[in-house]
Symmetry: C2
Subunit: 410 residues, 2 copies
């Protein structure tokens, strides 16, 4: 939890965090600042002290909203090296970081680096900064790990923000269901007022519109896929595809707050009008796994225990799973779930982790999303909700929506 | 230009590019793949060869849309080191990169790294990969530089994509103008049908909605600021502020294609109903600089020459500029413009660059955006268009919209 940050820094033996990158769409920076509109900034948090935020002059008022001590980056009048070299730019960046460390009261120790940037520049700048700063140890792999560990459990403010995105999500899912079922049907295909067929591209535009109307953002895309596309878990759906009665549609929606804040994640599988036996049988197996898992969730259990449960139930019902065949493209081909927060996928994960058990502890917000996929039969079914494990260990769906397969046409 | 990539790799002495990160909202990856919906992928482009795209199994059909040779990352069955160490994760990532290099036919040479990732992980992984790969030289700072150099001039496909975003932008700007001017006014404040005042937050929601309706995305935010906020160039505007007749509004809108593609950038300054003399005087100075600059644009001239021209004209009219006082927060406090493409700000820049002259060459798409700011008088004015320098050296505004200051109320 965010309040554990100093403790986690101590456990990871870190004297400071250095966060780089924009103030939005950058989970580490959003986590620490709350999401200020900064195109590029730096934040240094010493263990036991509040952060210092370094901003560009034009964004001084946005930076000030953070409530932190702020320093104008433009006050660092950078001295070019006496001889012009190929690496002038690197040299200037290194000396600016050294001035920032000084102003943040950091003269030695272990500094964890995190935040989004160009991978190559990060490698170049921090390699050069490390070489120029013998009293500091720059640690690359621990910063994200430490923050992801803090982020894995949410405080009540975070849960309410996720819940609000969840309410938006289910409201839009309901609008989509109404929209689809109120269409006319001709030869088994949904038809618009003008007599032309409705396309998946049009449905997706409509979804983006309804999300924008409610102040949410579709930052990571959207899956609305049917027939063959639905049988490949992350295919997003072809824009020109039409909507046919009786075909499975996988609708996986994961919007976030405007500016790249907290996410919500939900999937429904729909058949318009009726469901053929094959789809219905898969749906019942997936629903059964969803129920068996969600009814048995308890605090303190590794998330992967439930992945194993899901594999066993699917296997008993005759499906291949990634437990027996990690490369299978048929049957149960993915993991059961993941944490949801400032990343649409974050800790805890239900996949096997060689480093550490990832537990379902009080405070986690996570998905349960079993699915079955048969590309050769053009069939895919997935059901997903986002759940919160309350401080008392009880589990709550943050935004309820019916799990029904069949959407009767109006 | 994109077609110069092999040539630029040769000039930069690079044998290959390694691009990391998601397929969307990641300019380097979008540039090379066109923008496939890949949550995380890798791309290796050897000089003189087409790219190889490494994808996660579930995204195989999205990866295939790139048309490149694709390799499923899940086929790399990673061997854990015999002894469990703290750095298992790093070790696995390093050995996977080594297998990817091998499969891409790369056994030695200089590899430029680019693409978005966590800065700390990039520093850690590429430091470890470099240590484990003595025959390779991983270069951090050149990859982005090389791509930014290629991106600085656009081919006709790119220009048409930017033009289309521009058309969307001016259509939405027109909707906003109509929306504002059709409100009732009471005591100088814009009032909604229900009698309550219109807020800037409501205007921004409406803008996001109209952008979504037209299939564009507001990926980097939006500036719609009035009074004091308008006098600080990058303040985005306070949601609760009301709209008053005669106050300057700075409306800076920079949407992109859905999924983080090409951007457009436009700013207008508006006074609703009437403009007070102070605002009008600033507007005339800004418009004069805008016109003097755009009428004299010629191919092959450094962009900063026009920044110098802007400073001279502003100075002659009695304004302080960053040329005399780089820290000024009053007067002309920023640069004249920047390139626009897969980044809202990219090469060429009009600011002084110690490394290389940035020229306005045929093919560049760039902004001209003079402005004046007086925070103590609650006044700010900026005008901005996005221009394309055609292959013949002529300059064209990619989407026209009137520069008028005053929006008469209907």
């Amino acid at each position: 939890m965010k309040s554990d940050l100093d403790l986690l820094m101590q456990e990871h033996n870190m004297d400071a965090l250095l966060v780089v990158g924009p103030g939005q769409h950058n989970p580490a920076m959003v986590y620490l600042t709350g999401g200020a509109h900064l195109t590029s900034a730096f934040l240094i948090k010493k263990r036991g002290s509040p952060p210092v935020l370094f901003y560009n002059s034009m964004e001084r008022d946005e930076a000030a909203k953070s409530g932190f001590r702020t320093i104008n980056l433009d006050t660092y009048r950078l001295q070019k090296p006496p001889e012009k070299t190929d690496n002038d730019g690197l040299h200037l960046m290194v000396s600016r970081f050294q001035m920032m460390f000084k102003d943040a009261g950091l003269s030695s120790g272990r500094v964890a680096i995190c935040g989004q940037s160009d991978a190559g520049m990060a490698f170049a700048v921090f390699s050069a900064l490390q070489a120029a700063s013998p009293d500091m140890t720059l640690v690359g792999e621990a910063g994200e790990a430490l923050l992801l560990q803090a982020m894995a459990t949410k405080d009540s403010v975070e849960v309410e923000r996720i819940r609000r995105v969840g309410q938006t999500t289910v409201a839009v899912v309901g609008q989509v269901a109404d929209f689809l079922t109120s269409h006319r049907v001709k030869d088994g295909i949904l038809i618009k007022h003008d007599g032309s067929p409705l396309t998946i591209g049009e449905v997706k535009n409509q979804i983006n519109l309804w999300l924008a109307e409610r102040g949410a953002e579709n930052a990571q895309g959207l899956i609305f896929s049917s027939e063959y596309d639905a049988a490949v878990p992350h295919s997003t759906g072809s824009s020109s595809n039409l909507l046919r009665l009786g075909k499975t549609i996988i609708f996986d929606i994961y919007p976030c707050e405007l500016g790249g804040g907290y996410f919500y994640d939900l999937t429904r599988t729909w058949c318009l009008g009726y469901a053929p036996d094959g789809a219905l049988a898969l749906y019942e197996d997936v629903l059964d796994v969803y129920n068996q898992v969600t009814y048995t969730l308890k605090p303190g259990i590794p998330f992967r225990t439930y992945q194993e449960l899901a594999c066993e139930v699917f296997k008993a019902r005759g499906h291949v799973t990634i437990q027996e065949n990690p490369l299978t493209e048929e049957g149960y081909v993915h993991n059961l779930g993941h944490g949801v927060g400032l990343h649409v996928h974050e800790k805890p994960f239900s996949r096997h982790n060689s480093q550490a058990e990832e537990l379902l502890e009080p405070g986690v917000v996570f998905t349960v999303e079993p699915g079955l996929y048969y590309p050769q039969r053009n069939l895919g079914v997935r059901l997903e909700n986002t759940l919160w494990m309350r401080p008392n260990g009880q589990v709550e769906i943050l935004a309820e929506y019916p799990l029904d397969l069949i959407l009767p046409m109006k």
